[in-house]
């Protein structure tokens, strides 16, 4: 919440929030140690007429005036719960089914089965990493729960992971907790967003992570259990549960098991480098790259026989998605997007001698909408004009400011499909080396 940064600079603030989002705003502030001044307006504020929004302003104006001049901060001592390590032990009685029911009722699981995390099982899980159990991985938003290696192992047990998965799980969580991954945004938004985890390097085969046919789907133990463990850890330690502070209006399966797969390095066309090498790592490094995404879009192309035809179809396919770029949130135009080329589509492109750079530049040139398509009243119009100068209604606008922000990976197995992964606003890809 930007207002808290203003408070740190000595500027008092009053934040106007709607009834549906007041608790999220309060929780977000509280997670950062603040209980600032709020005025709550009946939901909604957006998508109503000018007369209605002005009337809402008039109805709460006395409260705004009061908050502006009468509200004063209350000084409270530091809030300290309990020691982060060792984690609290729960003494419970019952069957495995009973334990599952108790965990769910206490908000300690998602409602699908977990394996009860006994100290013995967690101890076995910790054998999969050289990291000490008391080490702190980070604080998980929005609750800002402290995450230790012991807790990572606890969630790994609950999700059914093997100890050999621990290094990858830890690296993925560390990457997701990097501030530029914007996990707070992904987990509290109204959008259907989720984490995506792409894995490269020797670790993929070492632990049996799927990277080919149906890699991100069912019947792959490593992918399923690590993906479940990532979400359990972030959701339970971070305290993000619907209907608030997880505000996703629909949610989806990736709230249970995140998108996770290995790049299909075996199917990289000759001369094309793996994704992690593109990002500056050595080919022999095991690397995890995470990004907060919207649900992917499937590009079905059974028909193109030249790269030009294929890129033309790509351009028309992703053009409707430009609505989630510049016109809505201009920040997305500065964010990397990910093109998950299926091996057959990649071969079509590379077989004609194209490099990844040629492909991304051709797509960037093709996937554009006229400036006249931007919605009237879009606040980003002014920002766009400031950046590029005057444009005409016919000026074609790309969905990223530069073609280099279209990252290309090889995703999945045989078939005439590829996938487009658009970033959630404010999310940048974060890579971490997997260390054992």
């Amino acid at each position: 919440m930007d207002q808290l940064e203003l408070e740190k600079l000595g500027i008092p603030t009053v934040t106007i929030s709607t009834t549906e989002f007041a608790s999220l705003a309060r929780d977000t502030a509280f997670g950062q140690g603040a209980e600032p001044s709020f005025v709550v307006v009946p939901h909604p504020m957006g998508m109503i007429s000018l007369a209605e929004i002005r009337k809402k302003a008039e109805s709460v104006f006395p409260e705004i005036l009061k908050a502006a001049t009468e509200w004063q901060p209350v000084v409270k001592p530091t809030l300290l719960a309990k020691l982060a390590y060792p984690a609290e032990r729960l003494k419970l009685r019952g069957t495995v089914g009973n334990i599952n029911a108790i965990f769910f009722s206490r908000g300690l699981s998602f409602g699908i089965p977990i394996i009860p995390p006994t100290p013995e099982l967690v101890g076995e899980m910790l054998k999969g990493t050289s990291r000490r159990p008391e080490e702190v991985v980070g604080r998980v938003p929005p609750r800002m729960g402290g995450l230790t290696i012991e807790l990572v192992a606890t969630h790994a047990v609950m999700a059914g992971c093997k100890p050999s998965y621990m290094p990858l799980l830890i690296a993925a969580l560390e990457a997701l907790l990097d501030p530029i991954a914007n996990w707070r945004g992904v987990t509290t938004t109204t959008a259907t967003s989720a984490a995506m985890v792409i894995v490269n390097g020797p670790i993929v085969k070492e632990i049996g992570l799927a990277s080919g046919q149906g890699a991100a789907g069912k019947m792959h133990h490593a992918n399923a259990s690590i993906g479940y463990a990532i979400n359990l850890t972030l959701g339970i330690v971070g305290g993000s549960k619907p209907p608030t502070p997880d505000k996703s209006i629909l949610g989806g399966p990736a709230d249970f098991v995140c998108w996770i797969f290995g790049e299909n390095e075996d199917k990289l066309p000759a001369g094309w480098k793996p994704f992690h090498v593109d990002r500056g790592f050595k080919e022999s490094d095991s690397v995890v790259t995470v990004m907060g995404i919207y649900p992917p879009v499937d590009n079905i192309d059974h028909w193109s026989i030249t790269p030009e035809e294929h890129v033309n179809w790509w351009g028309h396919l992703v053009t409707p998605l430009l609505s989630i770029g510049g016109p809505c949130w201009i920040t997305q135009m500065e964010q990397p997007h990910i093109i998950g080329l299926g091996p057959e589509h990649a071969q079509l492109v590379a077989g004609a001698g194209w490099t990844k750079d040629q492909f991304r530049k051709a797509l960037w040139e093709k996937a554009r909408i006229p400036f006249s398509a931007w919605p009237k009243g879009c606040p980003n119009t002014d920002l766009f004009l400031k950046k590029f100068g005057e444009v005409t209604p016919d000026t074609l606008v790309p969905f990223t400011f530069k073609p280099e922000d279209l990252n290309v990976i090889i995703a999945g197995g045989y078939g005439k499909h590829s996938h487009f992964f658009a970033p959630f606003p404010g999310c940048f890809p974060v890579s971490r080396i997997v260390q054992k």
Binding site: E7, P12, I16, G46, A68, M144, G145, M158, T331, L383
Partner: protein, 135 residues
């Protein structure tokens, strides 16, 4: 035929058990036991942030109205600005989206960007910021 009858009886038994006791009771052989389990929730340690006192009067003050760009946030604040000018003498109103359009962003995304925005908004030296989250 015998096998068919057995399956039929089993199905009836399962349905009755489900109706009477729920699916867990079907597996009644599972032992009740005492468990010691690690609480997966983790703990929260929060350092209290010092907030800034509000002015007791707005006369002669500079008030910044800040919209994050979500629909109608600016319209709401424009009306608030009009009312403030009507009710408070010598008040100066600044609209953030006019003076600092680069701070219009519904999802700031990171503390670094938040800090950058706050620094920019603070450069106009407001005595108070009234911010709309909209939505």
């Amino acid at each position: 035929m015998k096998l068919h009858g057995f399956i039929k009886d089993l199905l009836i038994a399962l349905i009755l058990a489900g109706l009477l006791g729920g699916p867990i009771d079907i597996l009644a052989e599972e032992k009740i036991q005492d468990w010691e389990l690690i609480n997966p929730e983790g703990v929260v340690k929060i350092e209290i942030m010092k907030l800034t006192p509000h002015p007791s009067r707005l006369e002669g003050k500079t008030i910044m109205l800040r919209s994050n760009g979500k629909h109608n946030g600016d319209k709401f604040l424009i009306r608030v600005g009009e009312l403030l000018k009507d009710k408070v003498k010598d008040i100066k109103i600044i609209y953030s989206w006019e003076v600092a359009p680069e701070t219009v962003d519904p999802i700031t995304g990171s503390h670094e960007r938040s800090k950058k925005f706050a620094k920019k908004l603070a450069s106009f030296k407001p005595d108070l910021v009234i911010a709309s989250q909209a939505d």
